[in-house]
Structures are given as C-alpha cells and as structure tokens.
C-alpha cells in the first residue's frame, strides 16, 4: 500500500484499477446449469458476455470451433421438442463435440427403464454433458446429484427452462442495451410455463420490472410469493411496457377449460394489430415458439418490425454454445 501512496497520482490510479480488476476477477464454477433462480446477476451477465463471443462462429466460413473436441453430449429428451433439441445439437456440433440423440419414443424408456438407469447407462459409455428435458420438475437436479457428467436443464415440468430465459434476456440486452429499469410483460399461460419462470428470474435479477398477464385461471396460486406484478388485463399494461413476451397456449398440458373459448382468449389476451397501435413504438415483441398464429399473436405482429422472434432463435444458438462451453470448463477445472 505504501508504494501506492507515494506513487505519482496518475500511476496510483492505474495501479489501484489493476488491483480492483484482479480482486474482482470472476470465475465460473458451475458444472451444471439447472435453473436461473440460483444464479446471481453476475453469473447471468457472465453467460451473456460469453455468448457474445460465440455469435460470430455461425456467420463465418468455417462454422465450427474446437473447445469441446473429444467431448460427448447427450440430448436426453423425455418430452417433444424441435427447437431446443436442434439448437442444443447444433451448438454441440459447432463446438466440435459429438452428440447422441436420445428421445423417449425410440429408447428403452418405453420399456420401463428409470431415469437414473438410463443416465447411468449413458454415463457408462463415457459421456460428458447431459442435456435433459423432462416433464417432472427437479429431474435435472436429481440427475446432477447422481451422475458425474455435467447436467444442463432443457426444461423441467413447470419449473425452469434456463437457456430460454438466457436467450430472452440476451435478445433484450442486445436490442435495448440493458434490462435495468425496463418494464416487461409476460402474457398468457403462466401456470404451465417454465419459460415464464426462468424469464422472471433472469429479468428481475438484471433489474427489469416484470408483470405476469393472463386470465386468473392461468396465473398460478403461488404468484404472491414471486418478484412480479400481476394483471388480468392486457389492455391495462400494453401502453406501459418496453418488452412483451407472448407465451404459447399449451393445449397439451391443460386439464379442464381454463377459458371459455379460443376466440374469447384471443380477444382479451391476443397481441393484435389493434392492440399494437396503443403500444410504445419501439416495443419489443417476443415469443418462445412454436407460435399459434391468430391465437396468442396475430401473424402481422409476429412477422412485424417490432418482432424479435427469429432473432431469439439465432441468439439461442450462441447462448447454448456458451452454456455448454462454461459447464465443461467448470467440470474440467474441478476434476
């Protein structure tokens, strides 16, 4: 410290800055990505910053880099998925990993094998990373405690879908610069949406104000304990928000009749051209896909100039590359 005090002023400033940099040097230590709830704002920001470096791989002549060369990634999907599964597969390929596709229909799961037995058998073949989607909340966490490989959650029940949450905040940050102080509405079937939950954790940790919007039948009972506002009227919030994320109505998960008719839902909660006229001119329109055109969102809006829906897909690839890279790095350094 004495050296700092006696050094000339400008020198002192730079030496102090170097000390701060050194002491604050962040280290990514998680070998699993199970959810965003447990991550700090700093960890989320680190993933987003890392993803930035992966974006250009997809635009150059050789769309591949070598950091996961010799590693094996398993896509272990117990639920249907096109976008997420392909995105993870392509991300693994672009990092030079080998990928095994494992889906429910064509596997021994249909013969009655348990999740743990399936995973242990895969592990016996020498895999490094398991990307898992499962209809039971907590399945990825359970797996992470029982096998040595890294586990990445690609969606568990109604709990979390962390890479979707990350790609959503990545897209918002890229277009809006920062999430600090933004007002964001997440609209639709909140109860059955793991995307809504992962979004909520990521967005609020990065400083945004989140409102869940939907009919009371599709807003979960526990919402009072979550860091969000609730509104039962899209018309009430449409003028105020900077970002609107329209969730898909998940007919396959609904029991009973949460709303009287599809037309009535679209009338009250659909993002229509009419409603868009009352929104801020630079409102960002998002949707995790697949879209029910004309139900939660009108085609003109989904394909319109405020829509970031296809950018979300592109960014998802960079974010998933970053996640695979980081969990592998943490695994290598703790082994």
């Amino acid at each position: 410290m004495r050296r700092l005090i006696h050094a000339p002023k400008h020198k002192r400033i730079y030496e102090t800055m170097a000390l701060i940099r050194k002491s604050k040097q962040f280290r990514w230590n998680r070998k699993h990505l199970l959810g965003l709830r447990e991550l700090s704002a700093e960890e989320i920001t680190y993933i987003l910053d890392t993803a930035k470096g992966f974006e250009q791989i997809s635009t150059r002549s050789v769309k591949k880099a070598p950091p996961l060369r010799g590693k094996v990634v398993v896509n272990l999907f117990f639920e249907d998925s096109t976008r997420t599964r392909n995105s993870f597969a392509l991300a693994a390929n672009r990092l030079s990993a080998d990928i095994i596709e494992f889906t429910r229909k064509d596997s021994s799961v249909s013969k009655g094998e348990t999740l743990l037995d399936t995973a242990r058998n895969l592990e016996a073949m020498g895999i490094d990373i398991v990307v898992i989607r499962h209809n039971a909340a907590g399945a990825p966490t359970f797996l992470s405690r029982n096998i040595n490989a890294s586990v990445v959650n690609a969606g568990d029940g109604f709990c979390e879908h962390p890479t979707q949450g990350l790609l959503d905040v990545y897209t918002i940050r890229k277009i809006k610069g920062s999430l600090q102080g933004l007002k964001i509405a997440i609209v639709g079937d909140i109860t059955h949406s793991r995307v809504a939950r992962s979004d909520m954790w990521a967005m609020t940790k990065l400083g945004a104000e989140v409102t869940f919007v939907g009919p009371p039948t599709l807003i979960p009972a526990e919402v009072g304990r979550l860091p969000v506002n609730v509104s039962y009227s899209l018309d009430e919030v449409i003028e105020k928000v900077d970002v609107i994320n329209m969730l898909r109505i998940q007919f396959e998960r609904m029991g009973g009749n949460p709303f009287p008719s599809i037309r009535e839902y679209a009338h009250y909660f659909g993002l229509t051209v009419e409603r868009m006229k009352r929104a801020k001119p630079d409102i960002l329109v998002m949707h995790p896909g697949p879209i029910n055109r004309g139900l939660e969102i009108e085609s003109e809006v989904a394909d319109g100039r405020n829509s970031a829906i296809l950018q979300q897909v592109t960014n998802g690839l960079a974010v998933r590359m970053a996640v695979l890279f980081l969990v592998n790095q943490a695994a290598a350094q703790t082994s």
Partner: protein
Amino acid sequence: MKVILNSRQIEQTLDGLADRIVSETPGELNIATVGIRSRGEILAQRLSSILSQKLGKDVPRGTLDITLYRDDLNSPQSAVQPKVQTTEIGFDIDDKIIVLVDDVLYTGRSTRAAMDALIDLGRPKAIKLAVLVDRAGREFPIQADYAGHKTDIEPGKLVQVSLVESDGKDEVVIE
C-alpha cells in the same frame, strides 16, 4: 523489476518492425494486421497506422480472440479461467498478407492457437508474425518473422507489457 523498453523505445521498436514489414512485402500485395487479445490488439492498431503512413494506403486491422483455440482449456491445473471475447475482423482475410501481432512471443502456444483461429476465417496469402518482445523458451516450432526486443530470461520471470491504452503508460518490464 527491470525496465527493458521505455515509451520511446517501444515507439522506435514498432517503427523498426513496420520498416522491415514494408521492405519485405512486395508492393502489389495487400497487408492487414490482426492483433491477439488483449495487448496485441493495441499493438496491431498502432502498427496499422504506422504502416498506413509508410505505404500511403489503408492497412486494415482486426482483433482475434483465441480462447476457443487454446490447448489448456481442459487442463485442471490452469490457474486462469480465460473469458471468451469477440473476434472482430471486419475484412476478408482471403489472399491478404496477415501480420499477426502479439506483445510477447514465449512458448509459441498462443501463436499456434491464433493461426488455427485465423484459418477458420478464410485463406490468407501468408501469415507473418510480429512481436514486441521475443522471449526464449519455445515449446512449439514457431518463430517470429518480425521481432522487436529479444530477451533470454529464466522461466520463473514475467515479462509485463504495459500500454497507454490499457494500462496508462508505455513500458515493458521484467518482474
């Protein structure tokens, strides 16, 4: 701590490197510089502007992040955790003479990674290596085409390059 290059000597060294690059490159070929993050980026910037002046034409420059090409990513003992950053090369590298710029050439491992990263972006006419400090201790069969200061210090020591843009002063010291 011993100063091996001061501000004026750094300036002279870069000017000398530029002179040699100009004299050894046929005039009809297009030169561009590509700096290896992070000090190489700044040096490439300076070298490009000196070369532009000497050649009377624009010498584009880019920045290469070699993190994904490092050979120690999966080694448990690596003390630092390299952060992936962006590669920013806004021009086509095909058929150009690419002068790869780094602050210190030591083991040669960064250069190997940089060459691999570069050829994933295209096919340059040639890759040349220019470094401010050439330190003995190569682990790979790699040599600099244009080396500034040469030094033969023992393995335990550290060559610390400080540049105004990132550290507030121009100086190379051995610690």
